[in-house]
Each structure stands twice: as C-alpha cells, then as structure tokens.
Symmetry: C2
Subunit: 348 residues, 2 copies
C-alpha cells in the first residue's frame, strides 16, 4: 500500500492506493456519512456500504451512465443532503466511477460552500485519473463539464479490489489513460513496455495505478487550477479523441483517448516532433488495447476540436509525445489538422 | 480613492474604493464582458453600462429581489454565458447589489470551473459587505445560501456615486453592517460616535465604507474559508437577526442585523460580557437607524437560530461585543436564549 500526498495552495489531500486500502479506511472511519453512488455500483457493493458505514449512512443512488452527470441530479443530491441534515462538517463519499466522482465532488464543494469529501473510485479510469486532482463537474446544455469547481477530496481510496468486477471494456478505459501517462512519464513507459503482455493483469494494474497517481499528483501540485500549462499536458490524446467522441459516440472515453493519441502521434511524426522506435512502441501499446478505426468524416468531426475549452485562439493546441518522459505542445491550423488526420486515416 | 489588497492562499483581489473608482476602472477596461445585473439597476445604469462596456457586452438582466437568487436563475446565467461564447479567460461583471453579486459570483466560479470576475456593488450593503471576501451563493429549498463557493473577484469597484440613487431604507441595510463593524473595530466605532448625527451623509458613508472594507479584508486574509473562527466574528448580530428575519420577514436584512445586535447586546449585558457606556453608545447608534420591536412570538422565531449552518452542536453560538474593538463568542442553551430574548423584548 502506498500513500501519496497532494498539497496545493488551498488544501491537502492523501491518496491511499493498493490492496487493503479500503479495509484500512473502513476501520478508521467514524461518524455519519452521505454516500453518492450509481445503480450498478450499488448492486455490487450496496451491502459493503451498509456494513462499512452503518445504518445511519444516507445513500443516494443515481442511474448509471454519463447522462446522469447533469444539473438536475446535482440539485437532487444537494436537496437530499439538506433533507438528511448534513452539516458544514459533514462528509460526502463518492463511491463509484468518474461520473459519480465528478457530480458528488461538485455537490460536496457547493453544499454550504463546501463540506468534507472522500473519493472511493471503483473503476480503473477513475482510480488513475478523475478521482485525483480535484476537478469536479456536470455537463450542461450538451457541453461536457461546463459547470464545475476545483475541490480537493481530503482522501482518495484507490483499492484494486474493485477492479475484479470490471468488464474488459471498462478496463480499456483506464488503460487508455495509463498509456497516456506512459507517453508523459519515462518510468511508467518502461513498466508498460516490460509488461506489455500482461496489461490486463490485476496485480500489474494495481502497481501501475499508484505510479500514474504519483505522476498526476505531481502535476496537480504544480498547477492545481490548470493555469500555467503543466496540467494541460494531461490532455495528451484528448483533443482529437474528444472531437471523435463528440461526433461518433458509442465507445468508452478511454478508447477515444487511445484513438486520439494514435492520430496525434501521426501528426507529431509528420511535424518532426516525435518518431522512431519510441513512437512505434507507443503505437504498439495502443494497438494492444484498441483497434484504431479509419474515420470517414474527418472534416466534420475534427472541427469539434475547435470548441474544446482549452482552445481559446485560432489554432488548435495539441500536447504530443516527443521522447521518453517528454511531451511538447504544438499549434496547428484547422486546415492542416484536418489534412493530417485524413492522411493518418488513409494509412490505417 | 483607496486601494485595498486581499491576498489569500488561493488568489489576490483588489478593492478600489472611493469617488472616481468606477470612472478609473471604465478607462482602463478592455475587451468583451458578460454583465449580470437586475431590472432596477439596469433601468438606472443600463446606458452607463452600454457606454462603458460597448455594444459587444452581453447583459443578463434578472428580476430584482432576493427571490431571484435561486438555482433556476443560476443555470439560466450559465446557459446565457455559453450562448454568448464566453471562454475560459472571459470576464463576468456583477453590476448590482448583494443578490446580483452572489449569483453572478457563483456563476463565474462554476462556468468552466471559473472565469474572471469583477464586482461593481451598487448598494451600500454590498459595498461594505457582500462584494468583498469571495462568498458566493444562491438559496435552495428555502435554505438561504445553501449552494455556494468561495471565489475571489479579481477587482471590486466600490464607488459612492451609486449611493446617490438609493432610498433611505436601502442605506439602512448598509448602516446595519457598518454599525456591526463598529462593534468589532475600535477605529470604526470612534468614527461612528463622532459622526452620529450625519450617518446618512454620502461623504461620511464613502469614507467609512473604505474602513469597513479594510476591516473585512483583514478578516478574509486570515480566514478565507470561515474555518478558524476569525471570519465568524462578522456574524455579530446575525444569528438572532436572521432568526427573526426568517420568522417575521418583510423588512430589509440590514435592519434585522441591527435588531439582532440589540437583542444580543442585551444577552451580553445579562451574561456580564459587555456593559456600561460602550454598550449604551452602541445601542444609541442602533436606535438612530431602526426602531427595535418587541416581538410577540420569541419561542418560535428563536428556535430558527438552531438551524443556522454555523450552529452544528447543541448550544447556540453568539459573537457579541465586549469592549471597544473587542468581541467574544458565547455559547448559550436554547432555553436560556429564549428566556433572555423574552426579557429583552419586555424591556422595550
């Protein structure tokens, strides 16, 4: 088990990762809690929640899926907190995947201007990514994460015991982000290359999760509010992946991150930023997880990258792999972006 | 003109107070803005907004009054911001009184996890109190300020030019808070005593506003998130005032603060915490602004003080004046609280 501390200007957060993290938290935990979860997680772990947090715990169960991450459910959680008499020193536990973590985190940050928050991420994706770093959000008016806050949980419990029940496709989501961390961090890259034939092994995943969290914690410490460009590196693969996701849908987010990385790696090669064996190795890792499709309608999907909230000016900004442990930000006009994506698609 | 800087762990804010502050801001201001205001303020200053911020400015006009501070209007402001294409580096201007400042501040803090915010408070109350310190909120499910954030504006423009159009009752609201600052701050107390016959004079109000902001800025610097008890002192008079406000309504908030202060001063005297000439002087200041009523139903109104979000345990906590520039926190059981409020009412 590893404890990773994240101290930012405004607060301090501890991530407990590894086997046994949940049991340890359950033992030391005291007092009444307000739990937010979803239907899928509740059907698997409802009994565990009751056993761990007692009959006094209030459990708010949301429908499963990204569509639940909306303002109606946000207000409904806050209403339920008021009804349950949650006080300023009350504790909200986000028990579930990224959707639960995002909306429960936002609720906790807004209720009486902020109550205590603990994240218990139950998917690989939320363990390596969304539960750490304090970004909370709901979607609004078809815009992803339009409403949100930066709000650090006091603790994150990332226990691999929850990964056992995940379907392979759900693991792919997390692996998408893990390979992204590999493209940013030399140590993670080495481990991925060494273990490329056991990427789905739970023992391997438990260890690499801690490495990814360590990388992210370091980024968040240096750029909590996404202002100086450091946190933006975590967006590697996301600009293009997200544009395809918006246009084509029907595929887990993490797979789109990998597809986005693949296309952006092609652009990085063509622009002379990244190449050789390093780029080939990243591509072979991506292909172990997902079959990259050649999209038919690049024009209309790529244009959605322009609407990304990180692209406030004329050019599209992409964070791309450069060499082991090193990434670079490149700026590219929309026309060239579309041309290179098309080229990449034809090469598939 | 005075500039007061508020540096907290998470950000920095500058309050520009005094005559000419608005004109100076108008001159240096650049770029497109999103303005939130209300119908009353818009009818008085709509032309000034257009002249100052140009035809590109988007102006969202809310109905006037506390009832507008709700989650429906919050989402409607955020929707309008998205429609207007506000970016991450966009600027929201809260142009109005406390309601506008609270809801616009919350919108700015949530949109894309926070855009730039400038407060232009147009009432005495919002100038001396709500526009400074970064508390934002909307009411929800009949609970005041249930949903909110701490979010510092980059600038506050507190210009007495806006006070000229205020009715006397509206000035009373601000004077309620100003006399509260007098009970916390020796310098402000001296000025109030010296000027007790010109409390409504705009020249006097402009100067004392800067003193109150200076006091509040110092408190916010030391306790931004209301955690260590320092910021709680600003609650002087509010616990009892707010309970009466909830129960009896139909009177401006600032007058309730004064009425609450009067009743709490009585309790402080009876408990031996505050007395003598100091207490008499504060009472005579209060009586210059408001006629303190003897409430008939103390029992049912006082019990509402228990629901105050600052009272998380059995006793009621009150911050009361002690001596010049000094306050004390006292804890009192509900029964004794009701008994002393009744005594105070009978003495009127």
């Amino acid at each position: 088990m590893t404890d990773i501390k994240i101290k930012t200007a405004s607060s301090e957060s501890v991530v407990h990762c590894g086997a046994g993290a949940f049991e340890k938290y359950a033992k030391k935990h005291k007092g009444r809690v307000f739990i937010v979860t979803d239907k899928n997680v509740y059907s698997l772990y409802g009994n565990l929640m009751r056993e761990t947090f007692g009959s006094e715990a209030v459990i708010k169960v949301l429908p499963a899926g990204e569509k639940s991450k909306n303002s109606r459910n946000l207000l409904s959680i806050i209403g339920a907190m008021a009804e349950a008499g949650v006080k300023r020193n009350g504790l909200v536990i986000a028990f579930g995947g990224g959707v639960v973590g995002d909306i429960a985190g936002l609720s906790a940050s807004l209720y009486m201007r902020g109550v205590r928050l603990v994240q218990i991420p139950t998917t690989l994706l939320s363990q390596v990514d969304s539960s750490v770093g304090g970004k909370t959000a709901v979607d609004f008016g078809k815009i992803k994460n339009l409403i949100g806050t930066f709000y650090q949980p006091e603790e994150v419990i990332a226990d691999p015991m929850f990964l056992d029940t995940l379907p392979k496709r759900e693991l792919n989501c997390g692996l998408g982000e893990i390979i992204k961390y590999g493209a940013l961090d030399g140590e993670i890259y080495e481990k991925l290359c060494k273990n490329k034939d056991r990427l789905y092994d739970c023992g391997f995943l438990g260890g690499i999760t801690a490495d990814c969290i360590r990388h992210k914690a370091d980024v968040v410490r240096r750029d909590e509010h996404d202002l100086n460009g450091i946190r933006k590196t975590l967006n590697l693969g996301h600009t293009t992946g997200h544009a395809f996701e918006l246009y084509y849908g029907r595929r887990p987010h993490g797979e789109y991150v990998l597809i986005g990385m693949y296309y952006e790696l092609y652009i990085a090669k063509r622009k002379g930023v990244c190449g050789g064996e390093y780029s080939d190795n990243l591509i072979s890792l991506i292909k172990k997880i997902v079959k990259v499709p050649a999209y038919a309608d690049i024009e209309n999907s790529a244009v959605l990258a322009k609407h990304d909230k990180k692209n406030s000016d004329e050019n599209i900004s992409l964070v791309v792999p450069q060499s082991e442990g090193k990434s670079a930000e490149i700026f590219i006009g929309l026309d060239e972006y579309i041309r290179l994506l098309n080229e990449c698609g034809r090469s598939l």
